[in-house]
Structures are given as structure tokens and as C-alpha cells.
Symmetry: C2
Subunit: 222 residues, 2 copies
DNA sequence: CGTCTCGTTGACTGTGATCAAGCGGGGTGG
DNA sequence: CCACCCCGCTTGATCACAGTCAACGAGACG
């Protein structure tokens, strides 16, 4: 799976980058830097590129009719985002605390898919992975209570970072709240309660140390 | 989009059926009948087939760790379900009030994808459509209140059936509740309230007549 | 006609949202 | 260097929406 992700062509390049849809298939791309809370693309814009996080973190977001924000997902180094089959983006993407991103033209990907079935398979699997993530998210929002959502979030991040215990959250409480469909107050209370229960430690708000993973896994199971 | 769906080979066939991933590409399949609440496939089983609803209705479901049920989606005539890229199904599928389903071996689809890029594109778009549905579902569960969810559900079904006003619900209140992450009582109250407000009429529980679509759309916009 | 499932209705409860205030750390300017 | 401010976070009090528990009604089926 891992090798289906885009891969950098090497540290030497700073404005040019490559992606590989399948092993041995590199597509030419460009690297871009974004500051704090910068828009990478907006909902409704033409979906000309596909993106890969090189460093930093990115959030994909949508707004409901009444203006409330929903975060669809967080994207960390190695993750692909901005995949579309239609002409336009159905959601927006923003850098969180600054991010380096590799862009590849969709036309290149489409050309690769048209001539190599392995590339087509790889693209399908990227969509399938997004689909699983979205279904998992729907499950969390539908079935879990507040503290369970936060526990699941922390576990998910530790797995993603392959960190055993120490976690540096790139996102604010507001981001977590909009991702988990809670308020910042509820998220904050969940963190505080877990610290009281010695399940995690919070040296500062953005730094989480997992003390008792078992307990977290127990909480997660709603 | 519509022609990317499987299409029946004709009414004459009863045990044999075809799917077309792209116009002009028919793949041989088999037709099956299921009774009420029959399992079509279970989570964890080998994903050997891809399915298309011919008639009736199907629900795809998952269970959370504590045993509560989540309905991922309802599948109506023409819809594809059971798509996977991994070896096994990550969810189960059941007929609701009886369903006729066309099955096609995944190996056939994979063969078609390997030799024809148009088939690969079609498959990718099927996944992409599922992805959009799952993201929409997550948005509903995250941002909308109870009555708004029910309003969105009714509107979605009327659009899906291309019915202007009359709707025959194939699913029970319990199914709707597990789909919208509500209780049956709350769903029932939402229906009743809408009837009181003259937004819908309910000659019987499973039959909905949309009286005021505008009002429904207003409600939906959470 | 009785039973059984599904749906509705009502009374009460609980979880998380809302409103409001206070804390703390990082950054800027005097 | 320190004072101040601003923003992100925390904490507390109250409220409201949906969940829970319980009873009843209405069809469907034997």
C-alpha cells in the first residue's frame, strides 16, 4: 500500500517533485510551500491537480448550509488529498501550521491511467482508501459519544505517526472539534478528564503523552 | 454516469445477467433472489463478487464494538454495492423486504480493468461516487439535528426515486434510525411533527407524500 | 380471535451545547 | 527587560435536544 503513495524524487529537488502511482511509475510534479491557515484549493475551483503532503499538515473542509464547518480529514506527510473524478473540487483544503505540498497535474495521472492498468488500479485503491476513511468517520460520528470520539482520535493519530506515546498535535482544539462534530469546550473537557484519569498527560495543550493505551482502546470501543 | 452502472441483459434472462462497466462492455453475471432480511454477504467474508440491485432494496451495515448497528447506506434498483479492493468485505449487506440482485465475479471485472482503461475509469468513478455518498453521510451525522436529518433523508429518497411527491419507504423506522444515527422514537416524532406542520402526509407509516418540498429543503439546510 | 411485530405517544433523564468568565503563554512594543 | 495584550484553552453554570423507559395502538399473520 505504502508504495502506491506519491514519493519524492529526492531531497535535491526543491521546485520539482515526482509522484509514483505504482512502483516504477514516476510523474513529474511541483512542490509548494504554504504558511499558517493558507488555502491550498477551494470548493468549486477546477480540480486541476492532485496533492501530496511532503511536510506539515493539511485539513480538508466543507461548510454546511448554515455556515458551520466540518473537517473531513487531516492529512499528514505521505498522504494524498484533493482526489476528484468530477471537474471541480467538492471541498476545500487548507494548511494548518504550514505545509509543504507536492502537486501533480491530473492530466498526467489520467494519461498514465489510460496507458497502464497498474496505474489505474493504484488510483482506484487511493479512492478506496479515502472511502474507508470516510465510512470510519461516519461510524465514529454516528455511534460514539464525546469522550469515545476523542479517544479514537488520539489512537488514530498515534498509529498514523507511528509514535508509541508522544504526540505533537498540529491542529487546534477548534480543528479537533470540527472534525469530531463536538464543541471546543467538550473536546477540552474530554482531554482534561483523561488527564485526571491518568490515561494521558498534557504538558501543554498541543502535546499529548499516552500513559495507558489499553484504557484508551477500552474507551474507543463505544 | 448512469450508463456506467450495471445494466440488465434483458427481461428474458432469469439466471444469467450482464453488467456493463462502460458502454459496450458487458460482463457475464448471475441473478439471485433474496427474501426478507436475508444476508447477501457478511463482513469478513471473501469479496468474490460485486453486486447490483435489480429490484427491491438492500442495506449495507456495520456493527460497533459494543454491538450497536450502523447502516452505511440503502441501495435501490440500479445501485452497485459490495465494492472492495481488499480481499474481504469490510461490511455486511442484507435484503430489506426482498431483493433481486445481479452478481458478477470480481475476477471478471479485474480482467476487464486490466485490458481496457475505460473500464478502469468506470470502476474508479464507482468508488468515487461511494466516497461522495459517505462524505455526505458524515456531514449529515456531524452537522444536522434530528428533524434536519429526517428531512434530508426524505429529500434524498424522492430524488433517488425520481418521484415528485409519493414515496414508498422500503425500510422500517429502525432502519432509518440506524442510518441517521437516531432512535426509532426520534425518527417517529420527526415524521409526526412534519405531518402536523403539513409538510408531509402519512397515509400509513411506510408511505410518505411530500406536500411542501420547499419547507423540506428549508429544514434540510441545517 | 389472539398474538406479535412495528409504530406512535408521553414522561423523565442525561449528555453535550451554550453562555460566560478566567487563565496562561507567546508575541509586541515601550 | 518587563508590561501588556491577544488568542487559544480551560472551567463552571445552565439549558435544550435527543435518548431512555414505559405504555399503548394498529396492522399482519396464523
Amino acid at each position: 500500500m505504502r508504495d502506491l503513495n506519491f514519493e519524492t524524487a529526492g531531497a535535491a529537488l526543491s521546485v520539482s517533485d515526482c509522484i509514483s502511482l505504482a512502483p516504477g511509475m514516476a510523474l513529474q510534479g511541483v512542490r509548494m510551500r504554504y504558511g499558517r491557515n493558507a488555502e491550498i484549493f477551494g470548493a468549486g475551483e477546477k480540480a486541476e491537480y492532485v496533492y501530496r503532503v511532503v511536510s506539515g499538515a493539511v485539513r480538508t473542509i466543507r461548510f454546511s448550509a448554515d455556515g458551520r464547518r466540518q473537517i473531513l480529514g487531516f492529512h499528514l506527510p505521505g498522504d494524498i488529498f484533493g482526489l476528484e473524478t468530477g471537474a471541480r473540487h467538492s471541498f476545500s483544503a487548507e494548511s494548518i501550521a504550514g505545509a509543504e505540498v507536492a502537486l501533480v497535474r491530473r492530466s498526467l495521472i489520467e494519461a498514465a491511467v489510460a496507458e497502464d492498468p497498474r496505474a489505474a488500479l493504484a488510483l482506484t485503491q487511493l479512492f478506496a482508501r479515502e472511502l474507508h476513511a470516510a465510512q470510519e468517520h461516519a461510524l465514529v460520528l454516528g455511534l460514539k459519544g464525546a469522550s469515545e470520539r476523542v479517544a479514537a482520535f488520539i489512537l488514530h493519530l498515534t498509529d498514523r505517526f507511528e509514535a508509541n506515546a508522544d504526540l505533537d498535535l498540529p491542529m487546534s482544539r477548534a480543528d479537533i472539534a470540527d472534525y469530531l462534530a463536538l464543541t471546543i469546550e467538550t473536546v477540552s473537557r474530554a482531554f482534561t478528564q483523561m488527564e485526571r484519569d491518568r490515561i494521558i498527560a498534557l504538558p501543554c495543550a498541543r502535546h499529548v503523552i499516552v500513559r495507558d493505551r489499553e484504557a484508551l482502546e477500552l474507551m474507543e470501543a463505544a
